[in-house]
Amino acid sequence: MDRKSTSRTCHLLGSSLISWNSKKQAYVALSTVEAKYIATGHACAQSIWLKHQLMDYSVKLEKVLLYCDNTSAINLTKNPIQHSETKYIEIMHHFIRDHIQKGDIEIMFVKTENQLADLFTKPLTRDRFNKLRTELSILDMKNVC
């Protein structure tokens, strides 16, 4: 065991899944909050890239909504003050704060049971697996046709 977390993200445009990622983090996170914070940062970077890409197709997005299932991590992104508990987080991970202040990204809370990205990091039970798979608009053709 190397105590590294896996960050997972998925990006939806409208209701279609357009980009997804599941990657082991390069840093040892000291807390769940830090791990989530790093993952949110990755998602933010990808969203900004997608935003630029869409600009090439003359689609202008005002604010990208980013869903995170950890309230502490959300508060961390909104508050530009250094807490003693979060001092150790590497500065590069704080770039998300900047984008939130500029209004490129808006961060929202989502309950764990509705967290779509869970599909990309853990072994799930049958019901949950099927539910999340459907929510990513991957359908069983038996039920559709």
């Binding site: 997972r8 998925c10 899944l17 997804w20 599941s22 599909l119 990309f120 990091t121 853990k122 072994p123 799930l124 039970t125 049958r126 697996f129 999340l132 798979r133 990513l136 991957i138 359908l139 069983d140 053709m141 038996k142």
Partner: protein, 84 residues
């Protein structure tokens, strides 16, 4: 593989893949081939990404237990050929 039973999920919830030093060695060419094909499949089936990436971390020294996990993915895919 053809007459195997289908599985409902690509991985067991209690599945723990570790170094497995004592495990029996399997043919690494075969293991890598399977991994390669399944990794390619993630483009159209994103929901197996986590599982296959987990298995793909052990390509240098494949053991029987990882091979089993890969076979489970195949069994799962067999049952979900109409999911897209």
């Amino acid at each position: 593989m053809e007459d195997h039973k289908e599985d409902v999920t690509p991985i067991a919830t209690n599945c723990l893949i570790d170094a497995d030093e004592a495990g029996q060695q399997v043919d690494s060419t075969k293991y890598r081939g399977l991994n390669g094909s399944l990794l390619y499949l993630t483009t159209s089936r994103p929901y197996i990404q986590f599982v296959i990436c987990l298995c793909a971390r052990f390509q240098s020294n494949p053991k029987e237990s990882y091979f089993k996990a890969v076979k489970r993915i195949l069994k799962y895919l067999k049952g979900t050929t109409n999911v897209r």
